[in-house]
Symmetry: C2
Amino acid sequence: MKARVFVMLKNGVLDPQGEAVRHALGSLGFDGVEGVRQGKVIELDLAEGTSEATVTEMCEKLLANTVIESYRVEML
Amino acid sequence: MKARVFVMLKNGVLDPQGEAVRHALGSLGFDGVEGVRQGKVIELDLAEGTSEATVTEMCEKLLANTVIESYRVEML
């Protein structure tokens, strides 16, 4: 079974990587890009029967820095 | 309006970052993690009326390295 974890910087946390992308899109002539935030997707290939709670624990312990990042778990 | 772009390494392309996460999860006692692939999510805040085709063009030109990465666009 598979799970997907999305990790994004919390609102209000400065995102220089996203800012760089926004700037680069502007330079390439894409107008109207008002904001860009960049985050991570982590696709996990798990043993059958792994619970969502286990994946949440992985997020808390390793995958996300919960001080500045929020995460969302999606079981597939 | 918003759009979300998912960028993942293509199958067969080595993903050392994902491999490091898999190893770290094992060290933390999470068994049964058979594989991990790490990718990017890019959330774009766009001017009203921006088409999906424009976002696809952004992917082709900047957001994804199409030699080794695949992408998926989601309009919100």
